[in-house]
């Protein structure tokens, strides 16, 4: 039993259409390593950062430090203007980060998820108010297999897109049987017939997608329409038939909106199996890159806390010299060393299209989500009273950490997915 039967899936959780999954049951080696086990060890890709990735990190970090320091982020949150349009333009177009995943034939950089993950780390560190994850990773991944003309606009930073799916959605489980009649869902948006004068192929879409991240910044919404076969539609976000209602987001640096379509014109960009692959691949890549973002959040929390406990004096000594605090910070650092390995493995597997990708993403999303929440909670606690105030940036990172761990599958959901992938079935009836 390595697959999850439909009855075990929560409603709305589609199945992953990826390549046949690696048979982890066959790797059930004991203490003596088997040849299968030896193969899996050799298969681990390079988990370090390359020089090029470090260079990319340096320019992204400089930009974010310069244009998005804490007071600026706080001011934006206070003003309820969480989309930093000039910063996003600089990151997306000037640095070319929007086109990292897009092939050069469509005007992109032709890089991979390894590089994209490094930028995700930096946006997490800064709690930057930019739709990098939602547009440059999730929506872009959804379009990569379609070759759609939208890719050129995304690569150039002229267009911003969002996949109109609840940000809490869990990436679907792999299905070794391939796509078949998979349509995911039920999706909240219904597909209706075109109206007089509509261009051929156009459909009219109606319904409300709740909790869509990046929708307010988007020019284009990618909307899965309910039905078999599954179709993915491109919808102009500014159309009069589209309303985007901002909701108060737990993480004010990543705004959410409820998106309501009322007979909105939608152009199909993928249908059937390609559409299913697009949606499932986008969610998986999103979860994998969000793991790297969470790694960045965790590192920033640790750095901020270390700086504070070195400087803050009580009982005539720096509070960082107390063993009770030192050991807690050592535990955060240990968790980060583990999370980094998991995040790099997920990025490398996504980049290579490795059949172990579902395992890697589940490991990374669970490990990095928990590391970020641990680091952020310790950051608040070890700052004491000042860490509980609105004026101090610790809460920005705490909210980014906790909401990131809830988004695209909680750590617990990812571990449940992992259990199915590696043949560790739950108890009967569990």
């Amino acid at each position: 039993m390595t697959t999850v039967s439909p009855g075990e899936r929560p409603p709305g959780t589609p199945r992953w259409p990826a390549a046949p999954l690696l048979r982890h049951g066959a790797l059930a080696a004991t203490a003596d390593s088997s040849t299968e086990g030896a193969r899996s060890r050799e298969a681990v890709p390079d988990l370090r950062y390359s020089d090029a990735e470090e260079q990319l990190r340096a320019v992204a970090r400089d930009l974010l430090a310069d244009r998005s320091p804490w007071p600026a982020v706080l001011a934006r949150v206070d003003a309820g203007e969480a989309d930093d349009v000039p910063l996003w333009h600089a990151l997306a177009a000037d640095l070319g980060c929007a086109g990292l995943l897009i092939p050069e034939s469509h005007g992109g950089a032709g890089a991979s998820y390894r590089e994209a993950a490094v930028v995700a780390e930096e946006t997490g560190r800064a709690a930057a108010c930019v739709p990098y994850l939602t547009s440059a990773v999730i929506a872009t991944t959804a379009l990569l297999g379609t070759g759609d003309d939208l890719l050129a606009g995304l690569a150039a930073g002229r267009l911003t897109a969002a996949l109109a799916i609840d940000f809490a959605a869990m990436p679907p489980a792999p299905d070794e049987g391939g796509m078949g009649a998979w349509a995911g869902g039920p999706w909240p948006v219904r597909v209706g017939p075109p109206e007089d004068g509509d261009a051929p192929g156009l459909a009219r879409l109606s319904g409300t997608a709740r909790g869509v991240a990046g929708a307010l910044a988007a020019d284009v919404l990618l909307v899965p329409g309910d039905g078999v076969p599954l179709r993915l539609y491109a919808v102009a976000a500014a159309a009069t038939e589209v309303s985007r209602e901002a909701v108060a987001s737990l993480d004010a640096t990543r705004p959410l909106a409820d998106v309501t379509l009322d007979r909105a014109p939608g152009r199909p960009v993928a249908s059937g199996e390609p559409a299913a692959r697009a949606v499932a691949g986008a969610l998986a890549a999103g979860a994998g890159m969000l793991a790297s973002e969470q790694l960045g959040v965790a590192e920033r929390c640790l750095e901020m806390t270390i700086a504070y406990v070195k400087e803050r004096r009580q009982f005539a000594r720096p509070v960082g010299s107390f063993q009770a605090l030192k050991h807690r910070l050592a535990d955060v650092w240990v968790a980060i060393t583990q999370a980094r390995a998991a995040a790099r493995y997920a990025a490398a597997c996504l980049a290579a299209g490795d059949p172990d990708t579902p395992v890697a993403v589940a490991l990374a999303k669970a490990a990095c989500g928990e590391a970020a929440v641990l680091a952020a909670q310790e950051c608040v606690q070890l700052h004491g009273g000042i860490g509980f105030t609105w004026e101090h940036p610790a809460h920005l990172l705490l909210k980014r950490a906790k909401s990131g761990s809830l988004a695209l599958g909680t750590p617990d959901r990812h571990r449940a997915a992992l259990a199915a992938l590696v043949d560790l079935p739950p108890p009967p009836g569990g």
Binding site: A31, I306, A419, L424, P427
Partner: protein, 398 residues
């Protein structure tokens, strides 16, 4: 590319060596000595000392080639302290004569090494140790008196890595000197120290006016702390850093028990299982990443995390394995006082593993001491105020 060429060149060297040394027709020891002399023992060691000055990562190809030919190995589990701690210490701090005297019989297993560091009064505070080494008047050699404890395999050892106090009149870290102690001389008495597992994997070693030659001193007089730091760093790497496949070691045992015993499954155990499986796989990947950094000459501080993580996981996994054993979990395989020559963690039952793993967070630096090291040396947090580092050792309260 270069590494691949070097690996294939080494494989050819092994085949050439095997053509002239048939393992089936030679005594084992003679074969191992010849392998050492051919520079195929540990290729990252210098030429003339069993190696060829190559990258450590190339050793796997050599070992695989010998294993494929059915050649005997040096039983690394039995000589782990020699290979993992004594050899790197001798290589880094020993004289040329010491390297030539000790490394060959160490590698072949002719001479087993143990470690004489901890004492009843000096565990985490190793630098406070009290075993005294006094220089013979005129002669230059040393007489050692004191008690050592937690000494694995001392009962089979020819040599002990000894840390002793040579100057009680200076602060504690400054008065230590590092020696190799011949375990066969009069005045060295080894007694089994029975552990909570029932066996005596460790020993107490009583040193009473035991003679140590000055030529067996490793490093300068008073420089013992620095040499010991090198040994301990290697110990922690050895405990925390092994290369394993997915579901290797204890994780594999627990996963196999889970698959084999559906009747033992509960939601609570499933939650613990999958958390531990995931954490163990991530820890494995962190180990792979660490070795990739080392192979590329970019050592990072992440190694300090590996031992803490390993200890916690091995303890929680072995506890879970015991719970999955059902009614058999109430039975123990063997309480007789045995003195094993190598650790047989996986050959024993789950009850033994549960008990033995409790030591993982104590041996080789407790997890608490390691957290302190990480906090101060990696994170740069201010040191705890201390009263013991500037006072002469003899004046410390005890």
């Amino acid at each position: 590319m270069l590494t691949a060429d070097q690996a294939s060149g080494l494989r050819q060297q092994v085949r050439d060596f095997l053509a002239g040394h048939d393992p089936a027709a030679m005594p084992r020891l003679e074969f191992l000595r010849a392998r050492f002399d051919a520079g195929l023992a540990w290729v990252h060691y210098p030429a003339g000392l069993g190696g060829q000055g190559l990258s450590r990562s190339l050793q796997a190809a050599v070992d695989a080639e010998f294993a494929a030919a059915g050649a005997p190995d040096n039983n690394p589990a039995r000589i782990g302290i020699g290979l993992g701690m004594a050899a790197p210490t001798i290589l880094a701090f020993g004289t040329q004569e010491q390297k030539e005297r000790w490394l060959r019989p160490l590698w072949t297993g002719e001479e087993v090494w143990c470690q004489l560091f901890s004492e009843p009064g000096a565990g985490s505070d190793l630098a406070g140790l009290a075993t005294r080494a006094v220089r013979d008047p005129g002669g230059g050699n040393w007489r050692v008196t004191g008690q050592k404890v937690w000494t694995s395999i001392a009962h089979a050892a020819r040599w002990g890595l000894l840390l002793a106090r040579t100057d009680p009149g200076v602060p504690k870290h400054a008065g230590l000197t590092y020696f190799a102690c011949d375990m066969t001389v009069p005045g060295v008495e080894v007694r089994p120290l029975r552990q909570l597992t029932g066996e005596a994997e460790f020993n107490e070693v009583f040193l009473t006016d035991a003679a140590v030659a000055d030529t067996d001193r490793i490093g300068a007089v008073g420089d013992g702390w620095r040499v010991a730091q090198g040994t301990l760093m290697n110990e922690r790497v050895a405990i925390g850093g092994g290369a394993l496949p997915r579901e290797g070691a204890t994780t594999g045992l627990v996963a196999a028990a889970w698959r084999k015993h559906p009747e033992a499954r509960t939601p609570g155990l499933h939650d613990r299982l999958i958390r531990l499986w995931a954490d163990a796989e991530v820890a494995r990947l962190a180990g792979v990443r660490l070795r990739q950094q080392l192979a590329a000459g970019q050592p990072g501080p992440e190694g300090s995390a590996a031992k803490i993580v390993f200890a916690r996981l091995n303890q929680e996994l072995s506890a879970l394995e015991l719970e999955l054993a059902g009614a058999d979990g109430l039975r123990y395989d063997d309480w007789t006082l045995r003195r094993p020559e190598s650790l047989s963690f996986f050959a024993r039952g789950p009850g033994y593993r549960y008990l033995r793993s409790r030591g993982n967070s104590i041996e080789g630096g407790t997890s608490e001491i390691l957290r302190g090291i990480i906090a101060e040396r990696v994170l740069g947090l201010p040191a705890e105020p201390r009263t013991d580092t500037r006072v002469p050792w003899k004046d410390l309260p005890r």
